[in-house]
Assembly symmetry: C2
Homo-oligomer: 676 residues x 2
């Protein structure tokens, strides 16, 4: 019995604040629970047809769970009463707590105090409850939840409303649910608790996770990592755009960084999606089938109608999914099955579908480059039995996503039969693409090695200000390439440096206090002669300077490592320049991370093509970049004294990445010491 069994698998339930007035929450809740097979007790001291207290209800039978439908001000006392009566869990549905401000914050603090004092597990407040259809527990005041069937998908939603949105969308897509929870204000039970509960639930085959804000980033990441090692997790994070004021009114919490949250979840093994429709497509597919681990799974596309196949292919390309050309043996097999002149290269266009569809699917699935099969067909029972064809087309370890176009009950039945046979289904090409994308992303997550552990030793101590020379010295220790340089304290030293390095050189002011060297005229490039050097030195402020060999041309990146307030150490990679900055085109990962993980970061960038020899430019050495990123992340993790380090620019050259400038920002706290 895990800590949440009293909540999600109770033997007995008391509804406190039950009512016979059908307009009241307590009445609706009691009605929703009518199907519960265990002991169900209605509690209302002002209604003599009901139990006067939880304790009285507990005399009649077990009460593990109290569902509290009383005003906010009275809730804490009811929860305390339930705990005293032996209940292990409570749900507080109503609002009027921290999200409402005013006295609500106090009511919420009262709840927290009861939890701390009694160890009762509390879901809510400010949630519309949860559904555990296998146990007949529909602790929700939305009557439509009776439509939700028992099944294998679990929903963990920040919001009670979104929990219902997802439960209904999954139901309409033909899926049953094992558990659906809305967390509300999460004064006790939070997403990591529920995720850990699900990690131990063999009846759940995939989990949909909806997040609004994250209270404890590392705890969430650890829970997702544990769960995704067991079964797929698909995550939707709200807050891509500016919704801060409204979000704060909803949850009473400040918005967490959307980008950092998505990056952290993906790194922990979740499939991250963009909207609730894709969430349903993705978790629905992953609840019935899963691809083998693959860094870049190949997708075979089969379509019975060319037009929908084009929509599907276009969508897959937009997701940067690999649709590899089929090998000659596969094409020979297809040539024997298909009329001449149909398109057989991948996508495979079957022309008018017929009974050979199953063999066509099988031939494509058996291609060595195909890890996932994505197919679309209109429901044409006279021409082909899609359920039989999909079954015939299955090849071990190659999941199938089949879009079935049509309307009406027969089509709904057919989609359900496919699901029951372990075939992911969709109603349209976009749904096929979204489900396929989820299978590919899951395969990629599975292909990654276990997360690196934090470095055990302290490689460097970060103390005091770092001018560019000192910052680059640190990069040298990390194995990051920097241009040859000489820190010079006098004009004579500068001339000696030019003579030694040879021109052209860059001449820069060397002062940790100057933050914007270029903007303040502190950088002179392309200095070749002694005369040019003198001109440059004349223009610099008095003091030390750096004389440095010029790097070859290339594409400039910005690489940083800093501390996210929610998730802790992170690394950020973007393309240099204001355009990329204005587009917020940045890849984020939690640190520490392996060089191999880091080497994938450029693939997140919209401007990735710039690093692939764009217009004759250099091609990125991704493994070398990965080593630089991982080293920066490790440095940050191992040095509590380091607040932030940024290499800007990190130039991609034909000879590998070169750090042209770096800024090191120590933490200014008194405990900024390397940890023991």
């Amino acid at each position: 019995m895990t800590g949440l069994d009293a909540l999600f698998a109770p033997k007995g339930i008391a509804v406190v604040g039950a009512s016979r007035d059908p307009g009241k929450l307590g009445a609706t809740m009691a009605r929703s629970l009518a199907g519960f097979g265990g002991h169900l007790a209605l509690v209302n001291p002002r209604d003599d047809t009901m139990h006067p207290s939880v304790a009285a209800a507990a005399d009649d039978g077990p009460v593990d769970l109290a569902i509290v439908c009383v005003p906010a001000a009275a809730s804490a006392a009811v929860v305390a009463e339930a705990a005293a009566a032996g209940a292990g869990a409570a749900v507080v549905c109503g609002g009027g707590f921290a999200e409402a401000g005013g006295p609500g914050a106090g009511y919420q603090a009262d709840l927290a105090a009861v939890v701390a004092g009694t160890r009762i597990r509390l879901l809510g407040p400010n949630t519309s409850g949860f559904l555990a259809p296998h146990a007949g527990v529909t602790a929700s005041f939305v009557p439509g939840v009776a439509q939700v069937r028992p099944g294998r998908v679990a929903v963990v939603a920040a919001s009670g409303g979104v929990n219902h949105v997802l439960a209904f969308l999954l139901t309409e897509a033909g899926h049953g649910l094992s558990l659906a929870v809305g967390l509300g204000n999460a004064v006790d039970v939070s997403a990591p608790d529920v995720l850990d509960h699900l990690a131990g639930d063999p009846g759940t085959t995939a989990v949909a996770l909806h997040l609004e804000s994250v209270a404890d980033g590392p705890r969430l990441v650890a829970a997702v990592r544990r769960l995704s090692a067991q079964r797929p997790v698909v995550a939707l994070v709200v807050g891509r755009h500016d919704i801060g004021a409204f979000a704060a009114s909803h949850t009473g919490a400040l918005a967490t960084s959307w980008r950092a949250t998505r990056a952290a979840l993906a790194q922990a093994g979740a499939v991250v999606v963009d909207d609730e429709r894709e969430l349903v497509d993705a978790v629905g597919a992953l609840s019935v089938t899963r691809a083998r681990p693959a860094r870049s799974a190949g997708v075979g596309v089969v379509t019975a109608q060319a037009g929908p196949g084009l929509l599907l292919l276009d969508d897959l390309r937009g997701r940067r999914i690999d649709v590899p050309e089929l090998v000659p043996a596969t094409r020979d097999a297809l040539a024997a099955l298909l009329p001449p002149l149909t398109f057989q290269a991948n996508p495979v266009d079957t022309g008018r579908p017929g009974p050979e569809l199953g063999r066509i699917l099988r031939a494509v699935a058996a291609d060595p480059g195909v890890d996932v099969l994505a197919a679309y067909a209109l429901h044409e029972p006279d021409a082909v039995d899609l359920v039989a064809a999909a079954a015939e087309g299955r090849v071990a370890d190659v999941p199938v996503v089949l879009g079935v176009g049509g309307a009406g009950d027969e089509v709904v039945r057919q989609r359900r039969a496919l699901l029951a046979a372990g075939i992911a289904v969709a109603a349209d090409p976009r749904g096929v693409a979204a489900a396929t994308g989820a299978l590919v992303a899951d395969a990629r997550a599975r292909s990654r090695a276990a997360a690196p552990t934090a470095p055990a030793e302290v490689p460097y101590g970060i103390h005091g200000p770092h001018d560019e020379d000192r910052a680059k010295g640190l990069l040298d220790l990390l194995g990051v390439t920097t241009p040859a340089r000489r820190a010079c304290g006098s004009r004579a030293e500068a001339h000696a440096a030019l003579a030694e390095l040879g021109g052209p050189v860059a001449v820069k002011v060397l002062d940790a206090a100057v933050l914007h060297k270029t903007e303040t005229g502190g950088v002179h490039l392309g200095v070749r002669t002694a005369a040019e050097l003198d001109t440059a030195l004349d223009a610099l402020p008095a003091g030390r300077c750096l004389v440095e060999s010029m790097a070859p041309a290339g594409v400039d990146l910005v690489l940083g490592a800093r501390r996210d307030p929610v998730f802790g150490p992170i690394v950020l990679l973007g393309i240099g320049g204001t355009t990329a900055e204005a587009l917020a085109d940045v890849a984020i990962r939690l640190a520490p991370l392996t060089p191999a993980e880091a080497a994938d970061m450029p693939d997140d960038l919209a401007g990735r093509a710039l690093l692939d020899g764009w217009r004759g430019g250099p091609v990125l050495d991704a493994p070398a970049l990965g080593r630089v990123v991982a080293a920066l992340g490790e440095l940050l993790v191992a040095n509590p004294g380091l607040a932030e380090i940024e290499i800007n620019p990190l130039r991609v050259t034909a000879a590998g990445p070169v750090a042209l400038d770096a800024v090191v920002i120590p933490r200014e706290t008194s405990d900024a010491q390397p940890r023991p």
Copy 2:
């Protein structure tokens, strides 16, 4: 009677190649047409229970339409026979024509010859037909079309398969269809024909258009312009990504530019969407309601559950939709209806929904800043009757989109009741956002003035090579700001120019044959002194040079006007630099266009924020930019001798846009003369 009434509203139909073998197309087609109320004749000379010929069928009753289900090689003869027997239209469903290559191209040419010789209107070949549910004509071999109800949405799809995909998705979303056509190879009847037919059809209230390639851009644009003046058109263009090889196999045509096609359709008044789901959301909403013309319609958001409301708001923000703060009078009205501390600024969170929902909707819809109302609620019949609330919430000219979360038949009935009452519906927040986005885009399209006519006079003659000085002279004539410049034939003239203009100046090689001045060392910037000028001139190749005042700092754009092979004169605007180029972040419009239309182009750019005072930079003067763009477009339209003109960079400065360099490319054909 328009030219397509024989096709879409026949009094009699002959199915040629009808069969009693249920596996044959002809049998399926005959079965699909069993509900047709007019004269239905089956033709098969080898089956003595059927008519031996179309002529024989025509003896029994009217035959306006022949549906041809015979092999490709025999189709042209059957169409000719039908025309001879008096049929005004024919559908050729099968494949094996141009899309299949080989002899197919000849069979298609045969069909074209019959069309040319007989004036019969031909749909296809290579299409799965069409549906005209009001007339009981389901000329399709997909049996599920029996599920499609008569209604008000029309579908015009490039592909027969996509026609079915859309018909089924619309049916599942609760919409009926007035007409659904798959064009196939479009040897005769093409999208503009069907769009013109629909412009005269009062039974159609919105049109979904799916395009793969465009044969005649101006004709398509004209048809969309005519139709969208009558009723909304929503367009989906396939081919955002590289799908060329497969697309060619499907249609036998090369891919049309996805970007140019979308831009042309939007400019012609269509609402352009990204995928088939959004197409269904958009056309479904626009078939029941429409917003008043508004350049930037304001959206009021009401949600009965905060979590789904956050998803909705996030999505609307991603669409750059205006969600304005409500005026004090509205907030006062809401304060009287809602408990304190709920969020009432817009979005409006109703908290637990109740019977006051209708008054809340009405208060928000009546706000002067609100043009469209977007709302979401779970189906909770005990708490609120959503149909009644939506009716109560209606304010004249303010359309309502209501998302209803739930599953099961009762919810489906409720969504249909809302549609019947003129309320757009959706099943999830994303659907609400997509429908709202369509209403806003339609309002914007309606707010635009009529398209400009092509300029009647020839303003300039373009002949011969244009060096930078001559190209800028042309810009000067157009009223485009350029820096002060002097074309110099000698060193003395260059020194005089520097003295006259004052430093700093740019010194550039002046030779129309040098295409990449900067890359070949032909540009020297920041020249201030006579000595610096001499150094610069020493480095330039011999010949003429341009001495030009330096422009102030700013953000560089690239503006071009060129001839698209499908759509003719177009203008293109992007942000300068390789990052924007790699991201293909470009806005396109057909020329000619008005300065006001052109001034909206930056809003299409992902990097729009760069032009809004990014990091202390200049703020774009959009009307001034619009005048430059419109002038370039007009120049191109009025000058057949001009192939292309590009201003790169066009710098956005605090004083307005300044053209820093320009390239003029004359057409090299012998007829490159200004038109009379």
